[in-house]
Symmetry: D2
Subunit: 344 residues, 4 copies
Amino acid sequence: MIVVMNHNASKEQVQSVLKRLDKEGFQVHISEGESRTIIGVIGQNTKEILPKLAIQALPGVEKVVPILQPFKLAGREMKPDDSVFQVGNIVIGANDVQVAAGPCAVESREQILEAAWAAKQSGANILRGGAYKPRTSPYSFQGLEEEGLKLLAEAKEETGLAIITEATDTSNLKIVAEYADIVQIGARNMQNFHLLKEAGKLNKPIMLKRGGNATIEEWLLAAEYIMSSGNNQVILCERGIRTFEVATRNTFDLSCIPLLKHLTHLPVFADPSHGTGNWKLVPAMARAAVAAGADGLMVEIHPCPSEALSDGPQSLTPENFSIMMEDIKKIANVLGRSVGNSSD
Amino acid sequence: MIVVMNHNASKEQVQSVLKRLDKEGFQVHISEGESRTIIGVIGQNTKEILPKLAIQALPGVEKVVPILQPFKLAGREMKPDDSVFQVGNIVIGANDVQVAAGPCAVESREQILEAAWAAKQSGANILRGGAYKPRTSPYSFQGLEEEGLKLLAEAKEETGLAIITEATDTSNLKIVAEYADIVQIGARNMQNFHLLKEAGKLNKPIMLKRGGNATIEEWLLAAEYIMSSGNNQVILCERGIRTFEVATRNTFDLSCIPLLKHLTHLPVFADPSHGTGNWKLVPAMARAAVAAGADGLMVEIHPCPSEALSDGPQSLTPENFSIMMEDIKKIANVLGRSVGNSSD
Amino acid sequence: MIVVMNHNASKEQVQSVLKRLDKEGFQVHISEGESRTIIGVIGQNTKEILPKLAIQALPGVEKVVPILQPFKLAGREMKPDDSVFQVGNIVIGANDVQVAAGPCAVESREQILEAAWAAKQSGANILRGGAYKPRTSPYSFQGLEEEGLKLLAEAKEETGLAIITEATDTSNLKIVAEYADIVQIGARNMQNFHLLKEAGKLNKPIMLKRGGNATIEEWLLAAEYIMSSGNNQVILCERGIRTFEVATRNTFDLSCIPLLKHLTHLPVFADPSHGTGNWKLVPAMARAAVAAGADGLMVEIHPCPSEALSDGPQSLTPENFSIMMEDIKKIANVLGRSVGNSSD
Amino acid sequence: MIVVMNHNASKEQVQSVLKRLDKEGFQVHISEGESRTIIGVIGQNTKEILPKLAIQALPGVEKVVPILQPFKLAGREMKPDDSVFQVGNIVIGANDVQVAAGPCAVESREQILEAAWAAKQSGANILRGGAYKPRTSPYSFQGLEEEGLKLLAEAKEETGLAIITEATDTSNLKIVAEYADIVQIGARNMQNFHLLKEAGKLNKPIMLKRGGNATIEEWLLAAEYIMSSGNNQVILCERGIRTFEVATRNTFDLSCIPLLKHLTHLPVFADPSHGTGNWKLVPAMARAAVAAGADGLMVEIHPCPSEALSDGPQSLTPENFSIMMEDIKKIANVLGRSVGNSSD
């Protein structure tokens, strides 16, 4: 890190900063410029985070600029090769673009089975569906809970699709992990550090959705929580960030895909349904996500969107999903990739 | 709510929307304008939330505009008078502006006692200090946990200050509630709905900090989760929202104070330490918050900010805190209020 | 629009609103719900904007909700077919995806000619280059002004490329329009209403870049300024909005492309160079923009990015641009489109 | 500035950066850390801005971190004492808090005179009122233009108030400056660099409103444009920034007041009318702004807000303005200041 002193910092103030850094075990390089003193601090990565902010509180310090990236296990520097995970007979993070499709929430046996078959027929390999639902209002549908998990298991049995579903608290993580092939941690829980640590004790891939106000650095640090607890199988999923623009539910930040490919070895998915909140925009943004280099997609489909208990307006009908899948297969081909089981 | 049809919606599409609304038990008013049909929907408040989005998915619907506020128990319409809570011998939400002061995290017996006495001497009635700390990086100090709670209890015993400290998960809520006079739910957990529901089963005031990307409506809906689970003692605390401006840690949204006073009967606090992230700005913004009508303040103080294990740069020294308290007492007087025990 | 009264609004207050609306020539529908009165207002579109806010200031009014889109000429309702413009032998807004490439600023004869040939060889039809540069700091390079325009003219003469360059004020609009085939209005000037009105008097296509904090509605209203002054040839260009995310220069809002295709008949371009600020991300986001349905791209290229006087870090080398163009031709083909002169 | 190399940058890449810096005339300090090389760059302030970004485009460079503040004339480092300007018999930037009040737009002789007398009677020294109005929609009222300026002159003649009014383009700056005692540059024009440079040639105070998406650094660089053109009389005015929160028109960033007091010697005003967009919130936020240390306020008042042609909902009635003024006089007194002519 770099410590920038005030232009009128006294010699004593500079000495006091140097003393403190020495006490913490850091080496320093001092640059005395025309207008101020700048102190370069060299030391161990893991300790750097600790004193950064405190030093900013010392008299005469103008600002402290961190230099190194604070995530280690998630960073590409430590592991240059892409991480690849096997989920049943599906491979994530390799050449195939994987698609998870299904309803926002599991609502009934009929609904989830119909959605599962529609997903499978168009080439998706993974069924999504929430059993535990985080909802903004206490008066909204909160999910079928364990009953929902059982219906997902039935759909898996029937169709052979892998299951992704969300754990919303440390209290339901265990049961969710019993049923799920991939455990989802939702956007609102991206910085639920207890949940992250417990997810780090599982031996299953975790899909970590980006928080609606999370920077990419914070997102990778959330992945670091899971990884530093022992689980390296983290899939990142962009689903839009909150901005001033209200014409879409979120602002779908697709630039994060190529950027993450530079910063991390972890696979990156994109969720155009939450990213836009509007089914009319989903096919175009699904194409864009694959063109930008996404390793997979999460898409909401519903047999009858206008009857959905949640997220109806952003759900595709099976017909529109089928058309979308045809398009993204062609886009994937341009990049030398294929989509899910499209090669079977 | 209002359903706005597309300008070229067919009669069948309008009929289909009317049928669906009828099925859900709503009454409607139809306005056929020059350019499109608009359907006014009248019905019970609690059911309104449910079908809002789904109707948006019906063919021919351009948009659905909600009219009524979705929070009920938290709203001033249902309860016009200010909510007032008693915490020991402290009254919150009435004429006295209450100040909670203390370190970000409990670090040691000496540190917390020193901070507690400094808080008390300047007129604060409540001691803050985190035992369970949500930290962005897994490599940062995570708190002393139960040991920290015991130190807070000791500080309470010695000084007579009430204790506010944070529960970060359903797994530590119970023990935190044993030690705390006011249980804090932090910004990152504002939409941790499991935690909110469990907090709603306590018989203690809950301080609900605003999420860094939470709208005021979402914040009041989070309060509604606590209240609809049985606990009406919710204190709201503004602590800054995330915006594009990086010169401050957050953007401290003080306008929410007078706005909340219109919308809700709940007491409103403000936390200028997190709101700005910079101790040099804290006294000015503490004055501003009281001038804007805050019922209380949360302020970080530390015996030695540059040695703090977290949030050093935004912590006031006891001396600066004392000066700040003198100023806010005068500002409170202008509004016909007093500060904490300043009248003793 | 819809006028929502307070839950405790008096009958006199409702009457006063009705009287005012009647005075302005509007028809009304009154819905008296259980908890409040809601007034639907029907009338001419162009007048709607005027009294909207003022009515909100009447006693007893809780809020005013606009229903109709405030842009008329730019909206697809009035003109369902796509607008198509001819620029020399180039067609914009039709099946061909057009690419404008070139340096941020014209710096020298050698630089602009080298860039122009590189653009042309890879299949771009339009040369971009700023002669008048809006720069955040007064100490940054401000452009070659008229000398830069002459160099663009020379590059056009040599290569046959069409020219797009920016007018930054009413004082240089005329001379820019003499040299440019397409006049650019930059993001910072999107709400420079004098410039918009004057651009509306030209008989040339105007490329209107989205302001960094402009909503899509405001952007279309800016287009409306140009169109209502007489010039219907407006090209919209997304170039990123400002959000909390600082890992990229802007947040590139590609979802606006399919959304604009619903709202307006105007052609939509995308600028991945400003959208990301990082040349490493440009090829991926160029592919994504075409996949999302963009009618064209604006891309910064520079013979030697590290010597550029502005925007070096977001400029592609000619080699990387050439690779990018090969990819987007394939993506365009998937959508049944071709790229610029790629068919020659 | 600091140049951070990639962890796997080659020696040749480091040498190439050093060569380029040497060519630009900079001195360097090299720190070879365990994981990467960091280059500290020392040199003249004004040149620093130029090559910053270009160096980021060199191979092997991870990022470039600027250290020094890019504004010079506006910075407190160069001029530690507060700037104080005399406008007629009013002093701005000294002990008195000055209040500018009046309607958003001049609408008629009667309206502006009534507003002017109301402003004066409550203790305001400056009359605000727009003659040239930047409006989001081309169909909204655009101002009375020169006729409006003449009405302001008449109001000045009658009441003795100083006049502040907005120039919206280089084409009307001259005539505005003839009538105005303080020339306002509005939020949308904060980065209209032509207008800033021309305003820099005037010998009159310029009130520079903060752009709705401007960082504090960009705002001070906009002031630098005016100052580097020769006019040091710049007043900054905070009026809210655009964020995701839609419950208020803007998010009123009062923390910028104490922060600006550290960074710059220029006087700082605040505009709670635009900052909130809601007259009910204006008195509380006016109090808060003064408590935070504002040198002045801009407040919209209107004899009849519900008849206003613009900004009615954020305009105070003369009665409410009068109550607000009584409160802020008391708040100013707490800080040892007085309000405008309140001492006469």
